[in-house]
């Protein structure tokens, strides 16, 4: 397996008037060719900022203060804008949460797709058009010639997200960062979109980072999973290990709060408390105040340890019975 992306010690901080927000504070992970990595966490845990850091799209007052991002072996953290521009949309693509917002309302689908090709390659409009049509066909859009002429408002949410996915795959990128691409969609459409994305990654060998807060989505899609909490990855490992036998109390809590059929009638588990204020993180383990397995050791910041073939930031790994998801 070749590593497409290697992020180590990434720190992206925002220097606001109220203080320094450590949105991403020491994140390490790698993504290999053809692999789907699920990046899971609550709102504000730094998932999306991690994605934007990779693309170099962090705007002031934020910046990458430390760490390295290696893409196909090249360092791209804080790389010059010119270099990043040749990567964006070409080698690294992004799919966003809300397909209503990410397509320009006044431009036709073909205009937007052809533009994405011509920004990186010197091909004729005809070739670009044909490639756009083929890409739409690949994501399961019937009669793509007609859809190409449509304006975004004429397409349903699911269709638009397919267009967005097709656009992301247009230049056969090595890596796609999908930022909650199914959150704004119906469950049935969600399943279709996940299916299309999975099919395309298998076919093209594109690596993918799938950012979501929905563990159920990741369980069916990802090869590996990284759980983020307050700017750090607290548990990272193979999908089966983490979903079936979570070790970090936060992962246990997240899995426990997913409604499933076997627990019908019972009260859903709820993680007590709220996500911490990023300006005033607790001393020691950031999850401490909400943790059910809190001990004296937790007043220190837990380092990353290798436990059962995965990396974990916890002093008291939970050895629970198998969860059902």
């Amino acid at each position: 397996m070749t590593e497409v992306l290697e992020v180590s010690g990434l720190k992206t901080h925002f220097f606001t008037h109220a203080g320094v927000v450590k949105a991403v504070d020491g994140v390490d992970f790698t993504v290999s060719k053809g692999e789907v990595m699920g990046l899971v966490g609550e709102s504000g845990s730094g998932k999306s900022i991690t994605g934007f850091s990779i693309l170099g799209l962090i705007e002031p007052p934020g910046r990458i203060v430390d760490g390295s991002i290696r893409f196909n072996g090249d360092e791209i953290a804080n790389a010059p804008e010119e270099r990043l521009k040749t990567l964006r949309g070409n080698r690294i693509s992004m799919i966003f949460q809300d397909p209503m917002m990410t397509l320009n309302p006044v431009l036709r689908v073909d205009t937007q797709m052809i533009e994405a090709i011509l920004a990186h390659e010197n091909v004729s409009r005809q070739t670009a058009w044909e490639r756009s049509r083929d890409a739409l066909g690949l994501v399961g859009i019937p009669s793509p010639e007609e859809r190409l002429q449509a304006y975004p408002h004429q397409l349903s949410g699911g269709m638009r997200q397919r267009v967005a996915i097709a656009t992301a795959f247009l230049n056969q990128p090595d890596l796609i960062i999908a930022d909650e691409p199914t959150t704004a969609l119906d469950v049935t459409i969600q399943a279709q979109i996940i299916h299309e994305a999975q099919k395309l990654t298998k076919r093209t060998g594109t690596a993918m980072i799938w950012i979501t807060h929905d563990l159920a989505v990741v369980a069916g899609l990802a090869d590996r999973i990284s759980v983020m909490y307050a700017g750090r990855i607290v548990e990272q490992g193979g999908i089966d290990d983490v979903i079936d036998r979570p070790l970090h109390p936060y992962t246990v809590g997240l899995l426990g709060s997913v409604p499933t059929a076997n627990r019908r009638g019972q009260r859903l588990f709820q993680i007590e408390g709220m996500t911490p204020n990023m300006l005033a993180l607790p001393e020691g383990c950031a999850f401490g105040p909400r943790c059910q397995a809190l001990t004296a050791a937790c007043s220190k910041r837990p380092p990353i340890k290798d436990v059962d073939g995965r990396s974990l930031r916890c002093f008291n790994p939970q050895r629970t019975k198998e969860t059902t998801l």
Binding site: T86, S93, L107, A116, Q149, M159
Partner: protein
């Protein structure tokens, strides 16, 4: 799930004819009878002004055709040359009907030309301000604020006083008086549009900066620009009339609507109302019809007022 899954929305959106945003906008615009009527009246006024040399009995600029003998004739009188002056004549013997149509030519030319030029200049400056940000933006916007703190008529009056008479000078004066309105509108809209996700998505596709500004942001700023453009054009027309009425605009030999109104002003109290009133009505109809169209455009183009 197979690869041939179809979205049920496809069947509803299947119609081969694709409705462009413009078509949708047109359909919504003509829903309003008042706006349709106003647009009709405006188009008739424009048509009459364009056709003036062919449909008027007299060329009011040709002194050979103007006879002082015909001075101050009431509406419906017969002129020395034999035609009927349906709207009467002014103090120097111009047929008012002819003079109004010729005057409208000047007024509309001045209004539209200054409107378009001010729009282009204001748009460019506003876009630069919105996209550059920082000191450049602050500097440009303070100039805009400074200018907008004076009434447009005062700015135009000062400019004409400095530049002198003539159609080109008036247009220049009006552009200087009005560009700031466009700049402010474009900047405000462009700032909102710049923060939208499709701009971020375009950045993620590696699309160049200038392309994002002109191809993505600018078209999305058009709606408020069109509205401001119509209203400002109407106000440019009335500004020109104001300047001409005050005697600093266009020369007596080439009377615009403002000059005609000014000409009849001195006869108002002697009962010869028509010399001022008919040109006034023509100006009123022009400005009101443009404003009604502009008002309705605002309703149609404003997403917040969407039904």
């Amino acid at each position: 799930m197979t690869d041939t899954v179809t979205d049920h929305s496809l069947t509803t959106a299947k119609s081969p004819k694709v409705e462009t945003p413009f078509q949708r906008f047109r359909a919504e615009f003509f829903e309003s009878r008042i706006a349709t009527a106003a647009l009709g009246i405006f188009l008739i006024i424009v048509l009459l002004a364009i056709l003036a040399p062919w449909i008027t009995p007299q060329n009011p600029y040709d002194l050979g055709q103007v006879s002082v003998m015909d001075g101050r004739l009431p509406p419906g009188s017969e002129a020395f040359d034999g035609y009927t002056m349906w709207l009467g004549s002014d103090g120097s013997g111009r047929d008012l009907y002819s003079a109004i149509l010729y005057g409208l030519r000047i007024s509309l030319t001045v209004g539209l030309a200054s409107g378009v030029i001010a729009l282009l200049i204001g748009m460019a400056i506003g876009l630069v301000a919105a996209y550059a940000g920082g000191r450049t933006e602050a500097f440009i916007m303070r100039i805009v604020d400074l200018q907008l703190s004076f009434p447009a008529s005062l700015v135009a009056l000062m400019m004409v006083a400095a530049l002198g008479k003539g159609v080109d000078k008036i247009i220049l004066a009006l552009v200087i008086a009005q560009w700031a309105y466009y700049a402010r509108t474009v900047r405000a809209t462009a700032l909102v549009e710049r923060g939208k996700e499709y701009v971020e998505a375009a950045q993620c596709l590696g699309i160049s900066r200038s392309r994002i500004v002109f191809r993505h942001i600018l078209p999305n700023c058009m709606a408020p620009l069109i509205v401001v453009g119509t209203v400002q054009t109407a106000s440019a027309i009335s500004l020109e009339a104001t300047l001409s009425f005050l005697g600093v605009g266009l020369p007596q030999t080439e009377p615009s609507i403002g000059v005609l109104i000014a000409n009849g002003f001195e006869y108002m109290l002697s009962g010869r109302y028509w010399i001022s009133v008919f040109p006034g009505v023509a100006l009123l109809m022009t400005v009101v019809s443009i404003n009604l169209v502009g008002d309705h455009l605002r309703d149609v183009l404003n997403p917040r007022l969407k039904r």
